[in-house]
Structure formats: structure tokens, C-alpha cells
């Protein structure tokens, strides 16, 4: 009933070393990542936490092939040094292996939930029948089986985020990057979303890297990395709470 498993639990999915990223502001450069090392494993929900401006979003942009770091290398799945590849190859890599969930849902207003999910599968080169099948499975999995033909305007915020998650899960990605996935949602919907991300890690073996500054999500994580000013402050493995306290805003 679910999308296929995509990685072996406990095996390394990402290894990044010495990541440096500077941004130019006026005449000076601000160093957002200051020689960071990072790793993540399949089957884990890795939480990256820290205050605004600590560089967490820049980190996942660099890890996922969206933003080229100035220094350092990223070895990801079976690709050595991702940033040595051409931008076309990096696009293809993301298409084949990466899922993204953003704070904004970024759904096309004109498309139904089913079409939102199918469009990405279409670019993966799947047959229309397979696109349809996978999209339906993914939407069922996020509990939107009965809302497949609704457009974003007819969906609530939580439902929209679930469509975005279905769009991400339908690809069966081995890597899922989530950037503040719950911050635009109320407590109840936030809980549904984090539960789905957790399921993607546990049941599908994906390496889920979730950036958040919401301390209540910590309870769901296998590992919590705290960042500040471009450095890692702490990195602790933990056993997720089987019955975490409900999220409330």
C-alpha cells in the first residue's frame, strides 16, 4: 500500500565536510556556514534546530544541491562530491532522489491535488498509468484519498501541506529535506505533518532532514543538531518519544 522502501536503515546517506558559504552584503561578506561537517543516515529523522540566521536553511540548500557552497564537499548516496557535477546532473539527481517540503506549500493554483503530485512523476518519465497509481497511493498515505480532485483554494493549510508531502513522497525519495514544514500550520496539522515525515523515515528508510526552530518537534527526532552562527553547537542522538506531547500553538 505504500511507496517502496528506498534506503537501508542506519547506512549513511549524506556526508558533508568543511562546508563554507559566504554571502555578500554591500562591501562585506557574511560567512553563514563556517566549515561545517554534517552527516545523516537512512531511516533517521534528523532535526536541525537553531535561531533565525544560524545558517540551517543554507545548510540544507548546500546539502541538497540547490546552492553551491564556496568550499567543502558533499558526498550524497552514491555520488561523490555532488558539487563537481554539472547543474543538469544535479537537477537529475534531485529529480531521482530528493524530496522537498517548504514552509509555503507552493502548489499551482490551477491543478488538483492529484495533478500536483502527478506533474513531478511525469518529469521523472513514468507512464501515465504509473503516475496515476503512484500519485493516488501517496495521497491515500497522507490521508487525502477523498480530496484528490480539489484545487489548493478548496483545501485547508494542513491539507495543502499534505499534498506537498504527497508530491514529495510519490517519488519515493531517498532523501527528504523539510524547511520549517510546520510553522505555517496549527498544532494539530503540524502534528499530522511531522508524523508523516517520521513515517517516511521509519517505513520507507528515507533520510529525513528537517530544519525547524520549533522546540516541540524535538520529541519526534532520532537526532537533534543545534546550530548557531554557522557552527554546530550540539549533536545528540536520542530515542524518539513514542507518545509525544501534542503540538499546540
Amino acid at each position: 500500500m505504500s511507496t517502496s522502501a528506498s534506503g537501508k536503515h542506519g547506512t549513511p546517506a549524506i556526508e558533508a565536510t568543511g562546508l563554507v558559504k559566504r554571502f555578500k552584503t554591500g562591501r562585506t561578506y557574511i560567512e553563514v556556514l563556517k566549515g561545517m561537517n554534517f552527516d545523516a543516515t537512512h531511516g533517521d529523522l534528523t532535526m536541525v534546530m537553531g535561531p533565525s540566521g544560524s545558517g540551517k536553511s543554507t545548510l540544507i540548500a548546500a546539502l541538497s544541491g540547490l546552492l553551491k557552497p564556496d568550499e567543502g564537499r558533499v558526498d550524497i548516496l552514491d555520488v561523490d562530491d555532488l558539487w563537481k557535477k554539472s547543474s543538469g546532473r544535479i537537477d537529475r539527481f534531485r529529480l531521482d532522489h530528493c524530496g522537498f517540503i517548504f514552509q509555503g506549500f507552493n502548489l499551482f493554483p490551477a491543478l488538483t491535488a492529484l495533478q500536483q503530485v502527478k506533474i513531478v512523476l511525469k518529469y521523472q518519465g513514468l507512464s501515465p498509468a504509473e503516475q496515476d497509481r503512484r500519485a493516488r497511493v501517496a495521497l491515500e498515505e497522507v490521508g487525502l484519498g477523498h480530496r484528490m480532485n480539489q484545487r489548493p483554494a478548496e483545501l485547508s493549510g494542513g491539507e495543502k501541506q499534505r499534498v506537498a508531502i504527497a508530491r514529495c513522497l510519490a517519488k519515493s525519495p531517498q532523501l527528504i529535506f523539510a524547511d520549517e514544514p510546520t510553522s505555517a500550520l496549527d498544532g494539530e496539522n503540524g502534528q499530522v505533518v511531522i508524523r508523516l515525515l517520521r513515517r517516511a523515515a521509519v517505513e520507507h528508510g528515507a533520510a529525513v532532514i528537517c530544519v525547524t526552530h520549533d522546540p516541540r518537534l524535538e520529541a519526534w527526532a532520532d537526532r537533534v543538531i543545534k546550530m548557531e552562527d554557522g557552527y554546530i553547537l550540539s549533536d545528540e542522538k536520542r530515542v524518539p518519544d513514542p507518545n509525544p506531547a501534542p503540538l499546540a500553538h
Binding site: L95, F100, P109, L114, Q150
Partner: protein, 406 residues
């Protein structure tokens, strides 16, 4: 539990299930694209209305050919149009053409022209009044018809009653579009080249923009001393026993022409006449200018509209890029979108033009839209839309997926 809801949703979904992102977006967010569609529609209208008006002028100019009773017309060898240029032939050709066994009647076009003056009708009817002076003076072109039944100079849409009316001496027929210009009405008397004439009929669809046209019988023309008497006559009008054989007869006549004349079927001559209109420099300049202007306005507005529309969906495009959809695929979406905008624009353009031509028809202004012209305008609009699409591709560079992370 969800049955009715899902059934309804299922129906809605089925309608758009197979539609592409570009087409779904255009339909769902049609308001956003309205400006582009309207701009294209008016660009198309500008060109179509101009061209249609010229074609309409051409059509009314050739109305005398299209609706003449002649199946075959015979012009001087080099002539490519009915009027203007040396299209007449020697009178001695008439018996030669009669030798063809399928020819029934041969006659010729006899044109004249002169000054037409309206008169104060009330003063005219007053008992014992001296004939009043002409009031308004215009020059007219006169076409004469031979009023014998079955003569090829009689237009096919002339009723028997109209021909009968023309048999009276001094009777003339005018087109409805000429009435105001000449200042007369049906039944009025007027002066033509110093002769008293009476308007006995009014025709429709023979508008002439250069000069009002007037029709009278050959006998009346002769009474005024304006009929051809020399050895050359105007183009010959030939009526065949079987009109369907016109092409065959034309081929046979031309085979025996020895360079003395050229025979045309009615359709052939009408097309040649229309084409010769576009050899008029001013028409080409005006048409070219309207194409240029229409194109410029169309591109500017469509381009800006598409830019705005892309910008409105820039985050969605960025999220597709994040998920690995390449720039090339996004560009194709935009080009497809501009293609559909073009298609809708073409439809809107034809709708507008149709409405305008209805309006023009109410005022007796003929417009004509031959298929090749419509196809050319459609192609123009599609090119405008696609060019606008290409111009707005640069906007996609702003879809930086890294910007979605914050």
C-alpha cells in the same frame, strides 16, 4: 459517506485530468491572461479589419464580374484586371467567339462616366416651374447593360422588374451606398451629363469607394451618344449553353487565340482582379503598417502579461525546480502557455472581427475575409504570442529554489 462529494469532484477532475499544466493554468486563471488575449484580439482585429475592408472594396469592385451573367470573359492579351489598363478588344472578335459551338450570346462591357447633379424635387414638381439648376454635383461611373432577356451584361441578381424598369428611356439604377453621396432617392429625377434621368431602382452590394457607380441600359447610353462606336469595344461577356463547361471552353478559346485575346472564367478573373488590388502601393503600405502596429502592441502587452503571470507563480516553478524539474522543462511550460494564449487570442480576434463586420454590414460597408488572409492573420497572432513567450522566459531565472528556504 463522501459519495456525492467524490462523484462531483470526480467529474470535475475528469475534465481537467489530461490537461497540461499550461492549459489548466490558462483556464483556471483566465483573468490573469485576459489582457494578453484582449491585446491579441485587437491586434488581429486591426489587421483583419483593414485587410477585410480592402478586400471588401475589392469585392465590390469586382461585384460586376462576380455577379455578371457571363460565364466567360474575354480581355486583351496582357490585361490582368477588368477595369483600368487596356482590357478592351477589337470588335471583330465578337463573330470569332460566336464560332465556338458552345457559345450562346456574346456582348461587351460598355462603360462611360460623367457628371451627376441632383435637383430640388419639390421645385421640380411645382406647376409651371422652370427646370431648377443642379444642386449637388458628383462624377459617376456608368455601366450599361443590354436589356434583352438572357444577355450576359445583366447581373444575375437583377430582378426581372429591375431590368424592365431599365428598359424605359432615361432610367438609371444606383447602389444604396451612392444615394446619400449623390443626394437623390428612389424615384427622384436628376441630371446626368445634361440629360434628365430618373432613379428607377436601387441595388445593394455594389458599393464603389472611388466613385459612385450608375447603371443604365445600352439604349439610353446610345441616346446620350456615349456608347462605343469604334472598332474597339470593352471586354467581351460570353454566355455559354452550359455554364459548367466554362473551364473547358476557356481552354479551347485560349488555344485558338493566337495572342489576340485571353479568355477567363468568371472566378479566375475575379481572383486576378482582387490580386491586382494589392499591387496598389498605398494598400500594401497601409496593410504593412497595420501589421507592424498590431504586432508591436500585441507583443508589448502579451509579453508584459506573461511576465506578470510567471512572476505570480514563481514560487511554484521554484518548487518544481527544487524537486529536480529542469529549466528546459519549465521553459517548455511557458512556451506552451504562450501558444494557448495565442490560440485563444485568435478565437477572440475572429469573434471581434465578425462583430465589426456585422456592424459594417449594417452600414452597407462590405468586408471580405478570404481564408488565406484569415490563416495569415492567425499565424501572425501565434507568432506574436510565441515571441512574447520567448521574451518572458528570462523571468524563470528568478525561480531560485534556494529562495524558498528561509
Amino acid at each position: 459517506m463522501f459519495r456525492s462529494d467524490t462523484a462531483r469532484a470526480g467529474f470535475k477532475g475528469a475534465c481537467s485530468e489530461s490537461m497540461s499544466l499550461a492549459l489548466s493554468t490558462l483556464i483556471y486563471e483566465w483573468r490573469r491572461y485576459m489582457a494578453a488575449v484582449v491585446a491579441l484580439a485587437f491586434s488581429g482585429l486591426l489587421v483583419l479589419a483593414f485587410a477585410g475592408m480592402f478586400m471588401g472594396m475589392g469585392k465590390s469592385f469586382t461585384a460586376t464580374i462576380d455577379r455578371s451573367g457571363a460565364d466567360v470573359m474575354i480581355l486583351a492579351p496582357g490585361a490582368t484586371q477588368l477595369f483600368g489598363g487596356p482590357s478592351g478588344v477589337p470588335r471583330r472578335l465578337i463573330p470569332i467567339i460566336y464560332q465556338h459551338p458552345e457559345v450562346e450570346v456574346v456582348d461587351y462591357i460598355d462603360l462611360s462616366g460623367g457628371r451627376f447633379e441632383s435637383m430640388d424635387q419639390a421645385a421640380l414638381r411645382a406647376p409651371g416651374a422652370t427646370p431648377p439648376q443642379g444642386q449637388r454635383s458628383e462624377s459617376v461611373m456608368v455601366t450599361s447593360i443590354v436589356t434583352q432577356p438572357g444577355n450576359p451584361t445583366i447581373p444575375v441578381d437583377y430582378s426581372e422588374a429591375l431590368v424592365e424598369a431599365l428598359r424605359q428611356p432615361d432610367a438609371v439604377v444606383l447602389d444604396e451606398t451612392a444615394l446619400t453621396r449623390l443626394g437623390v432617392q428612389l424615384g427622384d429625377e436628376a441630371i446626368y451629363n445634361g440629360h434628365r434621368v430618373r432613379v428607377v431602382g436601387v441595388t445593394r452590394g455594389y458599393a464603389n469607394f472611388m466613385q459612385p457607380g450608375m447603371v443604365m441600359s445600352r439604349d439610353t447610353l446610345r441616346r446620350y451618344g456615349e456608347a462605343y462606336n469604334g472598332s474597339r469595344v470593352g471586354p467581351l461577356m460570353v454566355r455559354l449553353r452550359d455554364p459548367a463547361r466554362a473551364e473547358v471552353v476557356v481552354a479551347q478559346l485560349n488555344a485558338g487565340a493566337n495572342g489576340q485575346y485571353r479568355a477567363w472564367t468568371r472566378a479566375e478573373l475575379s481572383a486576378a482582379n482582387e490580386a491586382s488590388m494589392f499591387e496598389e502601393g498605398i494598400i500594401v503600405v497601409m496593410l504593412g503598417f497595420s501589421v507592424f502596429l498590431g504586432g508591436l502592441i500585441g507583443i508589448a502587452i502579451t509579453w508584459q502579461t506573461l511576465r506578470g503571470a510567471i512572476l505570480a507563480n514563481i514560487k511554484e516553478f521554484a518548487s518544481l525546480r527544487a524537486l529536480g524539474v529542469g529549466m528546459g522543462s519549465l521553459r517548455r511550460i511557458i512556451v506552451e502557455l504562450s501558444f494557448w494564449v495565442g490560440i485563444v487570442g485568435i478565437g477572440a480576434s475572429f469573434l471581434l472581427t465578425w462583430l465589426i463586420s456585422l456592424l459594417a454590414g449594417m452600414f452597407g460597408l462590405p468586408m471580405a475575409f478570404p481564408l488565406p488572409m484569415c490563416l495569415a492573420v492567425s499565424a501572425l497572432l501565434l507568432i506574436i504570442a510565441l515571441l512574447s513567450g520567448f521574451l518572458s522566459l528570462g523571468m524563470l531565472q528568478q525561480s531560485q529554489p534556494a529562495d524558498l528556504l528561509r
